[in-house]
């Protein structure tokens, strides 16, 4: 039955942190709350966990109402049967690894914890370190202990609060894959909070993008990346270039008059301005005087303003009639060179008309 959040409102003193958001997490689904610092994603997670009281709205877990401010219903965290992994791991320093993992079972009065603990440690690959003290563990190992502790009690939901932000980049990639794998195996509805779009894209069944206490957009990773419906989403998930186009004579033009062909050209009103999203990786860079021409591609003239050598590629900032576009290429161009920025029509995504905000 998963999680059902309806019209969640959370205030702190005089300001509203969460402005009445609603979403569901189905059984076995991995949903990520993605957004910048201060967008309310952690607050939402803590409301689901019962670590914060709500000011409005209803939260249900597995069919039971755990939080309803209006009807004065509130279940304390220990009544909600959760598994939660904290950003700081929160491994208790005065207990061994095994004792940490056994804790959720011990406090519920289960007499025989050895088997469950062994299973949980095995799932995360920490069986050999069961008797260690937390001070002897690395960050990654502590994180896995935290994960084992979260799953040992077969919780109804799994909650993650930016668990990877304290790990170095390489460890982060490895742990990402592990968390994903474990969640799929156990098939527990999961809410994952992060500001890192790479985590969101790679791990989630669905991503909910939040900003300033509201849901901006939600959808599957591929959809959100390729066809975002808001500029905010496009900008937040991956590096994006934005270009303003004007609709005239049944075609879209850049401000300086170059045509841009779209795969599914949407007709617009005359002189209407819309923005398109161009991901850096779909932009090609060619010398302006290159004799080869591919008419299937859009081409815009520009000048190299800046370049950064990134090893696997060079990142170019190209001035295209006043707008800076970032493109990646392995070819070498010098600063100030005149180039053509090329892209396929089907890689252009037209952002919908911005809806008037209520």
């Amino acid at each position: 039955m998963g999680i059902c959040v309806t019209n969640l409102i959370k205030r702190y003193e005089l300001s509203t942190i969460v402005h009445g958001i609603s979403f569901t997490v189905d059984d076995g689904e991995f949903v990520t709350l993605l957004g910048p610092s201060g967008c309310g994603k952690t607050t939402t997670l803590r409301c689901i966990a019962g670590l914060e009281r709500t000011n409005g709205g209803v939260i249900e877990i597995d069919g039971q109402v755990v939080s309803d401010a209006q009807r004065d219903i509130f279940a304390a965290p220990h009544e909600r049967n959760l598994g939660m992994v904290f950003q700081s791991y929160a491994i208790w320093p005065h207990m061994t690894v095994a004792e940490n993992v056994a804790f959720p079972l011990v406090v519920r009065g289960m007499p025989d914890t050895a088997e469950a603990v062994a299973w949980a440690l095995d799932v995360v690959g920490m069986s050999a370190l069961a008797k260690r003290q937390p001070s002897e563990l690395s960050g990654g190992q502590q994180q896995r202990v935290a994960l084992a502790r979260a799953i040992v009690g077969r919780p109804k939901v799994l909650l993650f609060d930016e668990p990877l932000s304290n790990l170095d980049a390489r460890l982060r990639d490895r742990t990402r894959a592990e968390i994903s794998r474990i969640q799929k195996e156990l098939s527990i509805p999961t809410v994952y909070v992060t500001h890192d779009h790479a985590e969101a894209l790679s791990m989630s069944d669905r991503v909910i993008v939040m900003d300033a206490g509201r849901i901006v957009e939600e959808g599957e990773p591929r959809t959100l990346y390729r066809r975002p419906t808001s500029r905010f989403t496009a900008d937040f998930i991956g590096a994006a270039n934005f270009l303003s186009l004007v609709y005239r004579d049944q075609a879209w033009f850049t401000p300086d008059g170059s045509t841009v062909r779209l795969a599914d050209p949407e007709p617009g009103d005359t002189d209407e301005t819309r923005e398109v999203v161009l991901r850096s990786e779909i932009l090609g860079v060619r010398a302006a005087d290159d004799a080869k021409r591919d008419d299937s591609l859009n081409a815009l003239r520009g000048t190299i303003k800046n370049l950064q050598y990134m090893g696997s590629h060079i990142e170019y900032s190209i001035d295209v009639s006043g707008v800076l576009l970032n493109a990646l290429s392995s070819e070498e161009f010098v600063q100030g060179a005149a180039v053509l920025v090329t892209f396929r029509p089907r890689d252009v995504h037209l952002l919908p008309k911005p809806a008037s905000v209520v």
Binding site: L51, A76, R108, R149
Partner: protein, 583 residues
Amino acid sequence: MIGVNEHTAAASSGQPVPIQRSDALFDGGRLLGALYVVTFVIVALLVATPLAALIYGSLRSAAPGLPAQWTLANWAGLASPGVVGTFVTTIGIGVAVSLIAAIVGTAIAIIVHRTDFRGASTVTALVSLSFFLPSFILAMAWIIIGSPGGLINGVLEDILGLQGWRVDAYTATGIIFVMALHEVPFVYLLMRGPILGMDASFEEAARAAGASPYAVLRKITLPLLSFSLTSAVVLAFVLSIEQFAIPALMGIPGHVTVLATQLYLLVLFPPPDYGLAAAIGLTLSALTGIAIWLQRRIARNNRLTVTTGKAGRLTPIPLGRWKWAAGALCWGYLAFALILPVIILTYVSVLKYFTPNPFGGAYTLRNYVFLYESGSTVRSFWNTLIVSGLGALLGVILASFISYFTLRHRPPGYRVLDFTASLPLGVPGVVLGLGLLWAYAYLPLPIYGTLTILIVAFITRFLSYATETIGGRMVQIDRSLEEAAWTAGATRLQTIKRVLVPLTMPSLQGAYFLLFMAFFREIASAVLLYTAASSVLSTSIWSFFEQANWGLASSLSLMGMIVVFVFMSLLVVLTRGRSGIKA
């Protein structure tokens, strides 16, 4: 919890099933909520009773318990020349002592922790030891040394034959000297933290820019410490104006009166004026209260403390020629504050008749024999163990609850609890004693003259020591360690038992130790409340000294200090056995 039938019935009907509601006060369950209410009430009673009694007493025209009318005469009496003069003396002594103690204490802290001074660890240990020397024992020793009939005069006149050179400890100068000695360790302990915690890079940048070590000290180190230093001066001032034992022993014979001793005189010497004493007591509390508020503001606005935890990198300042001066300061201080008093007390305790000439004196162990055989002394010892041992335990338990409720749980009203628990800090010991005297004249509880009232007085007075110690540790425990326990299925009580208590245990032990030592050497709040039956070690020593029996007073002091030393060492050994826990 919801019953199985309700649950399954509702679940099968497809409706969301509500779980039991919790009230914010009883968020952690009924037991925890009840504990909070009980703690709140106890603290309120402990603090409010003496204060309310003092206010009441200051408006009455007769002693507590006697028929009286309402009057403002006591408050008017504050403007009398006698009281005004006392007020001026108090402030004057306070300012002098706090400045001297601040300079010496800070100098020692800098010498020991920032220079290449040899013997630093010994000095540190001994300065910390002298922190525990009770003020009245220090005063006694210096009276023996410096009073008109004391050792120095004896040496000067009888041995050296110098007439016309006299010292008199019974003066304001004497009081300032001994009080400063007493407060230096306090300033030292206050300044040690900021000095050790300073970021080395500030000084290193100055050195790299070309400043000599002394220029660095003058232009960088000391200015960076200015807030901490000012804060220490204010706290030392508070300590000085509320001091009782030293001005009582050294000031009364020489007719030097401070507010604390004036209060004492008004109660214990005829004609007694309990009402005026109450008014003076409240005024003194207001003074200390304002000073503490001032100190808190200074400490809070301290924008200069930068603790990076990289303390070990501080490069020591080389002393060069100054090492003799530094040594003179440190060892000189220790000589005056610790070594000389102990030697003198030992000397006097084995003398048959007082003489300044150690070679001409007759020695005996009869003082110790007397104490050993004296039933009242033995009773004193037992009383002290009960009051200090049991009292400290009760104090730690109460302080733990207070710290938990004000720092972690925070139920409605926790701010009031926090404020109330910190109030007694501004009430001098002798004032608290007077307040309790007034209060228990009217309360039906038969605890006057018993150990209970002493325990009540001591716990009220020193509660903040324990709450600061325990609270200081509790705030360091990351909230997520508790939240992880809750989300893992533990109730608040289970979390306290399994997570908070093990992690704060070192501070609980530290607080117990602190309270034990504080109770052990407390005289000010006990001096108005004790009787022969409820005498403790400090009051026994006090009364021996009042009877001018220096021999018995010294021997009992030494015996007491030995007992405490043994106890301290035991405690240190025991607690070192436990595993150190870092979170």
